[in-house]
């Protein structure tokens, strides 16, 4: 039996729109582009994606894991000089979401990710302050 059946809102959603296959294609298309501007777009659109995709459809944990890996890859591909600009372009909610992903990335360190994430962390902290870290800890909706 499906796990999340508390809310019946899922009945009103067009599932085909959010088909798994479609999702993968969209992102791969985005990844093929190179250059910081394109990647920034992907980062921002990923954040939008996260908020738009209904949570009750994400029954599988692997959806989140894939999103995490994607975000860490995107963050790693930014040039150090551009990090500050990218953080500056996000609004308050965006900075909080970015912090959430940074800490998620810290949990599963791969060869180079920690160094890059620490750079992002420094810049995000300058903008968001300790309040954004507190919101990572207290948020009920995890990434």
């Amino acid at each position: 039996m499906a796990k999340n059946t508390d809310s019946a809102r899922f009945r009103k959603v067009d599932v085909d729109e959010y088909d798994e296959n479609k999702f993968v294609d969209e992102e791969e298309g985005g990844e093929n582009q190179s250059g910081p501007t394109r990647l920034k777009w992907t980062l921002c659109s990923d954040n939008i994606l996260q908020t738009r995709t209904p949570r009750y459809l994400c029954l599988s944990r692997c959806f989140f894991e894939r999103a995490e890996l994607l975000v860490v890859r995107v963050l790693s591909s930014f040039k150090s000089g551009d990090i500050e600009k990218a953080v500056g372009s996000l609004d308050k909610a965006g900075v909080d979401l970015l912090m959430k992903y940074i800490y998620r990335g810290f949990e599963k360190p791969s060869d180079n990710s920690s160094a890059v994430l620490l750079q992002w962390h420094e810049k995000a902290l300058a903008v968001g302050g300790v309040g954004s870290i507190v919101r990572v800890l207290t948020a009920r909706k995890t990434v």
């Binding site: 308050k92 909080d96 968001g128 302050g129 300790v130 309040g131 954004s132 507190v134 919101r135 207290t138 948020a139 009920r140």
Partner: protein
Amino acid sequence: MSLYSFGLEPLSCHTWNKDRSQIAVSPNNNVANIYEKKGKEWVKIHELTEHSGRITGIDWAPETNRIVTCASDRNAYVWTLKDGTWKPTLVLVRINRAASCVKWSPLENKFALGSGASIISVCYFEKENDWWLSKHIKKSIRSTVLSLDWHPNNILLAAGSADFNCRVFSAYIKDIEDKPGPTAWGAKMPFGEVLLEHKDCGGWVHSVSFSPSGDQLAWVAHNSSIGVSDATQGKEVTQLTTNYLPLLSVLYVSPSEIVAAGHDCCPIQFTYKGPGALEFVKKLDIPKQSSKTSMSAMQHFRNLDKRAIEEDSNELGTIHQNSITQLCVVAGEKAKVEKYSSVGLDGAMVMWDFKVLPCIPKK
């Protein structure tokens, strides 16, 4: 601003008497101490020792001169001054978990007590049997009630709790008072009625405060945010996330200015002008420009070498050296507070002056 240190123990709670010459504090144990101001010093004149558990809340009713204390031993006592000593009267609160906060109503004929049993106990004195009775508000509360504040009309009660919700209840007790008129929060107010339930404040709601008119309700939550609900605008909620550590106490000092303080050890001023217009104004503690005590060059480099530090100071730049747990009005009426006090985990009580900068009209 002036600082007075009551020792090294954290001060859990504090309250003032009517003319602010006496203060009742609890140093994080089961005893409440009353100090009187003698010149520049505070001298202990009474000790209230009846509780067996740590005192979590204390409130002094200025007109009737009664003190109510509540503790983690699931009890509350009302203290009255008889022949120069304070005599306790047990209140039957009927809770099976620790009490967390207590507040006298504006007319002082009843008080509200929040507890870990997800219950608010509204207690009033019954003359026939000469004891304090309580009525329970249980509706929709799902976790510890962390803070309470009364509306100026003596009927409505705001409660912030650990289930991430902020609520306004009616605490109308028909045995002791007349039916209230309608307010901006609602017209029908039977006991226990929920007039506002803001479901996701983002974190535990540490403190709530009504505005002087009672039309706005401010709260601070553990996700470092402050929120205001405006009853005159359809109970619309405006939330502001801050860049600081979570705030633990909030106080309305004028119809539009709010002071909040918490783990950052510094009171912060916010202003609320309408829905969507909740803004940070400034930090109210100007960190002292530390005049670095002249340190010899040898010592400076020794510090750098041994401890890798550049400054030889362990102190914070703020007056409070640890989190501020509670703010309280000292001077001025609720709509025009001139002085307020703060106590913190560092055992210090600081009195702050609040000045509203006059609006200079633009030519």
